[in-house]
């Protein structure tokens, strides 16, 4: 994207009918580390890769619980993501207080989108620089939505955002038709595998990978890092879905040529 004379503030249209500041905000989402969401008939899963500031710091928190039935994974400006999560929590609890009932995910997402839209039409506020994958459960089943800085929202069966999300999406595209019938654990596995595709270097482990689930009879929860580590290790055992040019090995134990999964990833405390 080139710098041009129409991109100084949000309230300036370009002759081609574009709002460049909003588009730049969407770029910020692409800079964040990957987050993946997927749904089956009964569950919704969020998986994300965390970044660290330095070797000594903790991993960036990317998944937030919003209510017992809703959670969100963010990519982009984390501070914006945190503030929006707080807002979502506030909306949910307010609805709960008034109606003694969980806020339908679709309505929360629309409120969030309207909030984001406001920032695209005021000259004194900037758009939020964060993309949100909202996973939740309501009367009509599990849902996954994407909220953009532009104020748009979309519902998805499965999606990925952030850096190298295209690699994750490619995996999801291959597999998404099987998702509705997947069990909870199978769905989580698909999520972790797809997020692994989005990893440039290094390995997935319980610390840099966050997994969260919500489903029928199961409140939204972020899995324990040890649990996540086990899931990642079990991927190595089964060695399913190595990089695209090798034929998939279905459920067989035993060594396969793929050597990027050599050894167990170190357990972090």
């Amino acid at each position: 994207m080139f710098r041009n004379q129409y991109d100084t503030d949000v309230t300036t249209w370009s002759p081609a009918g574009r709002l460049f500041q909003v588009e730049y905000a969407m770029e910020a989402v692409k800079q964040g580390s990957a987050a993946v969401g997927l749904t089956s008939k009964t569950h919704a899963v969020l998986v994300s890769v965390g970044k660290t500031n330095s070797e000594f710091s903790s991993y960036q928190k990317k998944i937030f619980k919003v209510d017992d039935h809703i959670g969100v994974a963010i990519a982009g400006l984390t501070a914006d993501g945190r503030v929006l999560s707080l807002h979502m929590r506030s909306e949910c609890i307010h609805y709960k207080f008034l109606y003694d009932s969980p806020l339908p995910v679709g309505r929360l997402v629309v409120q969030l989108a309207d909030k984001a839209q406001v920032c695209t039409q005021r000259s004194w506020t900037r758009p939020y620089g964060v993309g949100l994958l909202v996973a939740g459960l309501d009367e009509t089943g599990p849902h996954l939505y994407l909220n953009c800085p532009s104020g748009n929202y979309f519902e998805y069966q499965a999606y990925a955002i952030g850096a190298r999300s295209q690699a994750a999406k490619t995996y999801l595209e291959r597999k998404f038709e099987t998702f509705p019938e997947c069990s909870r654990d199978e769905l989580i596995r698909h999520g972790v595998i797809s997020v692994r595709e989005a990893l440039a270097e290094g390995k997935l482990n319980g610390s840099n990978c966050s997994v969260a689930v919500v489903g029928a009879g199961e409140a939204f929860s972020i899995l324990d890092p040890k649990m996540v580590q086990q899931i990642i290790d079990s991927l190595d055992d089964k060695n399913e879905e190595p990089p695209a040019d090798v034929a998939p090995v279905e459920g067989e134990q035993g060594a396969v040529q793929d050597d990027t999964d050599q050894g167990v990833a170190p357990m972090e405390t």
Binding site: H94, Y99, D100, S101, P104, R107, T140
Partner: protein
């Protein structure tokens, strides 16, 4: 909730316009600061009992159509049962004007709910909780809505029957009543109500209790309506009267048991 938020915004706007300085903490214009604000209320036109029972297909509500002005049975065609959205019925005893106001609030709530047009809808539980918040908050401001409300509904096969009153006391039950109904009808319900009554059985039970109320509650009038709510929707019957019997032997010769002039 959207309505409430918008209302708050409008109210805030209006106050800001009148008050001027937002930091002094006043919530009314200077001109009204020392004038008496009246909160104590008395009911003027009141409705008497409302009865509600769960039955096989949903919920039945019954009430008469009387609006008393103190001890005068002044209005005899007052609708005290109203449908709310697709899933709920509301009945009220107490101040009729407050009930009409509540129905207005709820109609607005349902309107905004419908405007989402997204397949979700407020069920009886949600409406009940909303009403509870409303009644309790008014009570805390010493400006209550002078009603006892009965709320019944069915959503996704789940039957719901509850009550809220002007001080915010609320609960759910298989059979509820307001006012005199608590004293005269509930004991009959306790004896004769059972799970999965048919529509006919339910109506018969309600009419039996309405008859007792007609004889014994001085504010009752013999013009009643029965409303039913099922998964399909709500229906409120046309008003009708029940047969009363006054030809009891004891009434024919009242002086038989106590001859004399006093």
């Amino acid at each position: 909730m959207l309505a409430a938020a918008q209302k708050d915004e409008k109210k805030d706007q209006a106050l800001k316009n009148l008050v001027g300085h937002p930091q002094t903490g006043r919530d009314c214009p200077f001109t009204l600061l020392n004038s008496p604000i009246s909160h104590t209320q008395y009911p003027y036109v009141t409705g008497t009992s409302v009865l509600g029972i769960k039955y096989k297909d949903g919920v039945l509500l019954a009430s008469d159509m009387g609006g008393s002005y103190g001890s005068t049975l002044r209005y005899k065609s007052v609708q005290r049962l109203k449908p709310i959205g697709k899933h709920t019925l509301l009945g009220a005893g107490g101040e009729i004007s407050d009930f009409q106001e509540i129905v207005r609030y709820l109609d607005e709530l349902i309107l905004y709910d419908n405007m989402w047009d997204d397949g979700n809808s407020l069920g009886p539980k949600e409406v009940h909780n909303y009403l509870n918040r409303l009644m309790y908050n008014r009570r805390n401001k010493f400006n209550p809505l002078w009603n006892t409300l009965v709320l019944g509904g069915v959503k996704n096969g789940q039957k719901y029957l509850g009550t809220v009153n002007m001080i915010g006391v609320h609960y759910e039950e298989n059979h509820v009543a307001t006012g005199f109904g608590n004293h005269l009808a509930r004991p009959i319900f306790r004896d004769e109500w059972h799970e999965d009554m048919t529509f006919e059985e339910g109506v018969k039970l309600l009419e039996k209790c309405m008859l007792v109320l007609l004889y014994r509650d001085r504010s009752a009038v013999n013009k009643l309506q029965i409303a039913k709510i099922t998964e399909e929707g709500a229906t409120i019957s046309e008003p009708y009267a029940i047969k009363t019997h006054w030809e009891l032997e004891a009434f024919k010769n009242p002086a038989t048991g106590a001859v004399g002039s006093w």
